[in-house]
Symmetry: C4
Subunit: 199 residues, 4 copies
């Protein structure tokens, strides 16, 4: 029952973070249809942000559906994770002004890094708490999530850092493509039993 | 249970989209009552947006109450549908500056088109998933929704496109009337058992 | 179950309307403490708006807890009621710039009038639907709510209109006092069984 | 059941208050990464605000999980408490412009004071209502919450006022440190059974 209140609170915060991003979409002063084209960069950045947070929510939801307990520690790490998520709209807005500007893209990467870090810690804490409480199979299925395995694999993270740094130096705009790709392949590729949770 | 979490998340997003539209209602600088008249175009556009999203929520709610399962695929199409819905406040704000300006009205029509498309795909996916799971009667009642039958009838869509193009060329402001009419007649005219769902 | 989804949706919309009012509270450019004094008029208007919507939520909640059914009609009237409520932040913002300016105060009165009208229709529809479904005692206790009895009493409404017009002509700022008074005495004075609903 | 609706409403309001604080985080005009450094003061103030409201939510949640009843009086005091909470984003925004400016820091202290006051009254009312209804053990465990004991101890409040005044006079920026410290030590230090509520 209390798990559901933490879920509801998290859902509300994520829903607001997701939706306030549209406030950054400035309607043009001019009434010419072509004036909206100036918003195309933000539209791209907005779509990436929406996809990112959507996948994050999905994985979070999977994890919380599985877990048998939400300790105070988990609650706090969850809060920190939401805190890092709340910077996505800021990074999205800044990047959306010029997709190929290095400064904003580096800022986005920093936010992304902290977000990933908080997410890994959250997954770790949830798996651990379930393990300690004797729910080994839950701990295993949570640790088996592709997003967690990728973010805790040194090969993956190492390769990622190299690609990321190269991109940010030479073609910052490619970061949006990289994130989209990664979000779809890593985050979108959930455990096979995820569909059953919805049925 | 998880269906209810997806519903709750959707409700939160739709409620925010609905409500942030009021932020675009600028209080006049002047303290004269007549100064509010400059906001009348936005007020009209706001009322249309509210009606539109209200009806959409109603039909969505009907569909989700009926469905026995929410698969990952449905979750994602639902997300895309919410994404298209999130552009309604932008289109509403732009159109609200000048109801008869062609550019914003065309933008609104584009948003409306993508929104309709996402909605049809969502309905299709939900009906299909229920059919595959052996709930034929649910699939039938979902496919029987007027909004779905209209949007998948080539006569209807064909006629609509012709009217729409003519309106956008000659009297853009008429689009708001057309949407209101369509929303009330097509979206508001739900299946007969819809009242029972509420009782 | 579906009643609870309409309730949840309404709660989300009302919570957002309530909270976005704080966005209008502009932090002063200056870093002097006295600079915040320029926000005192808005602070008063904000407090009145919060009290108003808080009481409205309470009465709405009472009504929805009692009702056995939420028909499509009730859903729509509820939507219209939320639509009128969404203008409270606008009126609050405008009045908050100058509490004694006639224009904004008249606008507030107009919003208040439409809001009251929508609320009365909503109460009427809920009571009627319950009566038709054979729940007479529910219909009676809903019609017995002080806010409904006041707003449907011609003596009360007549006296109110006279006082209101006089105030708006001579001392517009008094409207905030009048609303506070009315909200506390009429809206705050709920049926005796209201406490039991919470226990 | 109705307790849960008040909880849900509160959660929505708190989630919005928490999340709209990010709107104050202005993306720099410039596309230089260093431009984001101008937002560091707000980032600190934002982190403190998030921590503060997060802990407040936790304690509120603890209290509401325990209480057997939510009377009308409690509902109203809860509303007043949310009202005071809604000023945190304003104080956070103002302080975030210049962490060492005395004016904004004093304003923050005033908000903090009213907030604490409302919180104490809320705790008192909830404990009292449970005591009157014969749930003595609930009343005791609520009164036993560290945040309540601290805020009702004259030694603690006395010492606090002296430290606070000294800080505001000599090094206003230290207030953020003081609040962080206090929030973590007093608010974060909940009753031992709090973890069980989540399991």
């Amino acid at each position: 029952m209390n798990k559901s209140r933490v879920e509801a609170f998290t859902d509300a915060v994520i829903a607001i973070i997701l939706t306030i991003m549209i406030l950054e979409f400035k309607t043009p002063e001019s009434a010419k249809l072509s004036a909206i084209l100036s918003q195309v960069p933000y539209m791209i950045s907005y779509a990436v942000g929406w996809l990112f947070i959507g996948i994050a929510w999905y994985n979070h939801h999977y994890m919380f559906t599985k877990t048998k307990l939400v300790t105070r520690k988990i609650f706090w790490i969850n809060n920190i994770w939401m805190f890092t998520t709340s910077f996505i709209p800021v990074a999205t807005a800044w990047v959306g002004r010029d997709l190929n500007a290095q400064g904003p893209e580096i800022f986005y990467a920093i936010v992304y890094f902290f977000w990933s870090f908080a997410y890994v810690i959250l997954t770790y804490a949830i798996a651990k708490a379930n393990e300690n409480a004797g729910h080994k199979e839950i701990a295993i299925s949570i640790r088996h999530m592709k997003i967690y395995r990728a973010l805790t694999s040194w090969q993956f993270v190492g390769a990622e850092i190299i690609i990321w740094v190269l991109i940010l130096i030479y073609i910052p705009a490619l970061q949006m493509v990289l994130i989209t790709f990664q979000v779809l392949v890593v985050g979108g590729n959930v455990n096979e039993d995820s569909d059953k949770l919805f049925e």
